[in-house]
Amino acid sequence: MNAQEKEQYLREYSQLKNAGKPFFPYAVTKDGAMAAITLFVIIAMAILFGAELGPKADPTTTTYSPRPEWYFFFLFELLRVIKPPSLVLMATLGIPTICLILLLLLPFYDRSPERHPLKRPIAMIGAVATVVAMAYLSIIGALGGPPSEIEIPVAAAYEDGAAVTAASGCLGCHRIGENGNTLGPNLTAIGDRLGRDAIARTLINPTSPMPSYQSLQEENPEQFEALVDFIASLKEEAAEGGQDTQ
C-alpha cells in the first residue's frame, strides 16, 4: 500500500467508524452472549465427555498409544504420509515451520490494499488449500486404528512376544501385517533384513524419534527377550505361508 492508499483507507475507516455504534452496550452485549455460549459449550462438553484418565504412565510396559490431542493430528499425519526417510525431516519440521513463517509474515508479502475476500483470489485459493489439507490430514489421522492389535498369525512360541509387542505400542508407528501405522519402517518382514542381535541393539539404542526400550531390558529381561524373539521371527515366508515356522 502506498501513502495515498493508506490515507484513503484511514479516511474511509473513520467514516465507517463514525457511522457505527458505541462499543458499550452494543458490542459488549454480543461479546457477552458469545462468552455465555462458550461457557455453556465448555460445561456441556465436560459433562458429556468427562475427563478420561487412562492407566498410569509406565515407561516400560503396557499399552503405549502415542496419540496426540486432535488438533495435532494433522502434524502427526503429515509425518505418516511422507514416507521417504530423506523427506521425514521435511515433514516433521520443514513444512510446519515454513507454513508458520508464511502465516506470520502474511501482512508483509500480501501488500495489496484490497480487502474484499472475493477480490483476493490468490489469498483465498491459498487459504482454502491450507484448510482442506489440514482437514484431510486431521480426518485420516483421526480414523487411524488403535495401535495395539496384531492380527497376523503368530506361532505359539512367539505369543508372549506378540503380546509384549502389542502392549509396547510398536504399532503406534510401525506396521506389522495389516495393523499399525506407517510412521516408522514396516516390521512385517523385518526378520529378513535384520538379525536378532541387530533388532535388540535397535530397541536399546534406537534412532529418534523412537523411544528406547533399554528400561524394559533392565527391569523385565524376559519380556524384552520375548519381544526381540517375536520381532526377529517376522519374515516374508512366515507372513505368506504357514503359521508354524517352529
Binding site: 500500500m1 493508506k6 484511514l10 474511509e12 475507516y13 467514516q15 467508524k17 457511522a19 457505527g20 455504534k21 458505541p22 462499543f23 458499550f24 452496550p25 452494543y26 458490542a27 454480543k30 452472549a33 458469545m34 462468552a35 455460549i37 462458550t38 461457557l39 465448555i42 460445561i43 462438553m45 459433562i47 465427555f49 475427563a51 484418565l53 487412562g54 492407566p55 498410569k56 504412565a57 509406565d58 515407561p59 499399552t63 498409544s65 502415542p66 496419540r67 496426540p68 490431542e69 488438533y71 525431516l89 516433521t92 519440521l93 508458520l100 506470520l104 502474511l106 501482512p107 500480501d110 480487502r115 474484499h116 475476500p117 505400542g169 503406534g172 508407528c173 529418534s208 524419534p209 523411544p211
Partner: protein, 275 residues
C-alpha cells in the same frame, strides 16, 4: 443522570415524560419523598462519592469512557465476537487451571495419583478437569475461527500488521499450552504422546537436540521433564499469553476493529440514526 447516560438502544431508553404525568424524577413538590425514594437517593449519592474518591486519585474515568463509548464501525457483526470469545476461553482455562493446581502434584510418583484424586474424590473435580480439558479444544477452535475471520476480512493489512503477528504468536503459544498440558495427567497416552513429540523436536536441525534436552530436562524423559512441563504450562506460557493478549487488546482499542470489507462509506452522510 441524564448527562451520563450512554447512547442506549431504543428499547432501553427511558420513555420521555408524557404531558400530564410526573416530570420524570418523581417528585414535583406535591408529596414528601417516601422512605424508599430517600434510601435510593442516599445510595446514589454514596456511590457517586466513592466513585468520585477513586476517580480523583486514579483519573480513570476519561480512559474508561473513551474505551467503553468508543464507536465500533458500521457493520460490526457476530463474527467480531470470536476474539473476545477466545479471550473468555483463556480466562476459563486460567480459572479452572488454578483450581486444578490446588490439588495437582508435579511429581512422577504422585502426578497420576493426584489427577485421579481430582477426578474421583474432589468435589466437582471431574467437572473442573473436564472443563479444562475440553476448554482447550474450544479455545483452539475459537482461535482458528478468529484467525479465519481476520484473514477473510483482510483485517491483517495496514495498519494492523502488528496485531496479526501478535495473534499468530498467541496461536503458537496456545498450541504449546496444549502440548505441555497433555503430559500432566501422566497416564500412558499422555506420557507416550509427549515422548514422541519431544523426540520429534530432537530431530530438528541444529537447535533440535538442545530444545529437546531443555524440554526433557536431560537426555532421558523422566521426573525433571514433568516439573519442566508443569512450570512451562503454569507460569511461562500463560504469562506470555496474558502479556501478549494485553498488547493485542491495547492495539484493538487504539486502532479499532475493521469494518466488513464489503462496506463502503456512504458519500452523503444522511443517516444520523447510527448514533
Amino acid at each position: 443522570m441524564s448527562k451520563l447516560t450512554p447512547p442506549l438502544p431504543k428499547f432501553l431508553r427511558p420513555a420521555p415524560p408524557r404531558p400530564g404525568e410526573d416530570n420524570g424524577a418523581g417528585h414535583n413538590g406535591d408529596a414528601a419523598p417516601s422512605r424508599g425514594e430517600k434510601l435510593r437517593e442516599d445510595a446514589t449519592e454514596k456511590t457517586a462519592q466513592v466513585v468520585g474518591w477513586l476517580d480523583e486519585r486514579s483519573n480513570l474515568s476519561p480512559l474508561l469512557r473513551a474505551n467503553l463509548y468508543r464507536k465500533v464501525p458500521k457493520g460490526t457483526n457476530w463474527f467480531y465476537t470470536l476474539g473476545s470469545a477466545t479471550l473468555f476461553a483463556f480466562v476459563s482455562q486460567a480459572v479452572t487451571g488454578v483450581f486444578l493446581a490446588m490439588y495437582y502434584e508435579p511429581d512422577t510418583a504422585r502426578a497420576y495419583e493426584s489427577a485421579a484424586y481430582i477426578t474421583n474424590e474432589v468435589f466437582l473435580g471431574e467437572l473442573v478437569r473436564g472443563m479444562h480439558k475440553w476448554g482447550s479444544t474450544v479455545m483452539i477452535i475459537l482461535i482458528f475461527l478468529h484467525l479465519a475471520r481476520t484473514f477473510l476480512f483482510g483485517a491483517y493489512k495496514y495498519p494492523r500488521e502488528i496485531q496479526w503477528i501478535i495473534g499468530v504468536v498467541l496461536l503458537v503459544l496456545t498450541l504449546a499450552m496444549g502440548l505441555t498440558g497433555y503430559l500432566l495427567p501422566f497416564d500412558q497416552r499422555s506420557f507416550w504422546a509427549t515422548t514422541v513429540a519431544v523426540n520429534l523436536n530432537a530431530s530438528a536441525p541444529i537447535i533440535g537436540p538442545y530444545l529437546a534436552d531443555f524440554m526433557r530436562g536431560g537426555a532421558e524423559f523422566g521426573a525433571a521433564s514433568l516439573s519442566r512441563f508443569y512450570a512451562l504450562h503454569m507460569l511461562l506460557i500463560p504469562g506470555l499469553i496474558a502479556a501478549l493478549i494485553g498488547a493485542h487488546l491495547y492495539l484493538v482499542a487504539k486502532l479499532g476493529t475493521t469494518a466488513p470489507p464489503w462496506l463502503k462509506p456512504e458519500k452523503k452522510s444522511l443517516n444520523s440514526e447510527g448514533i
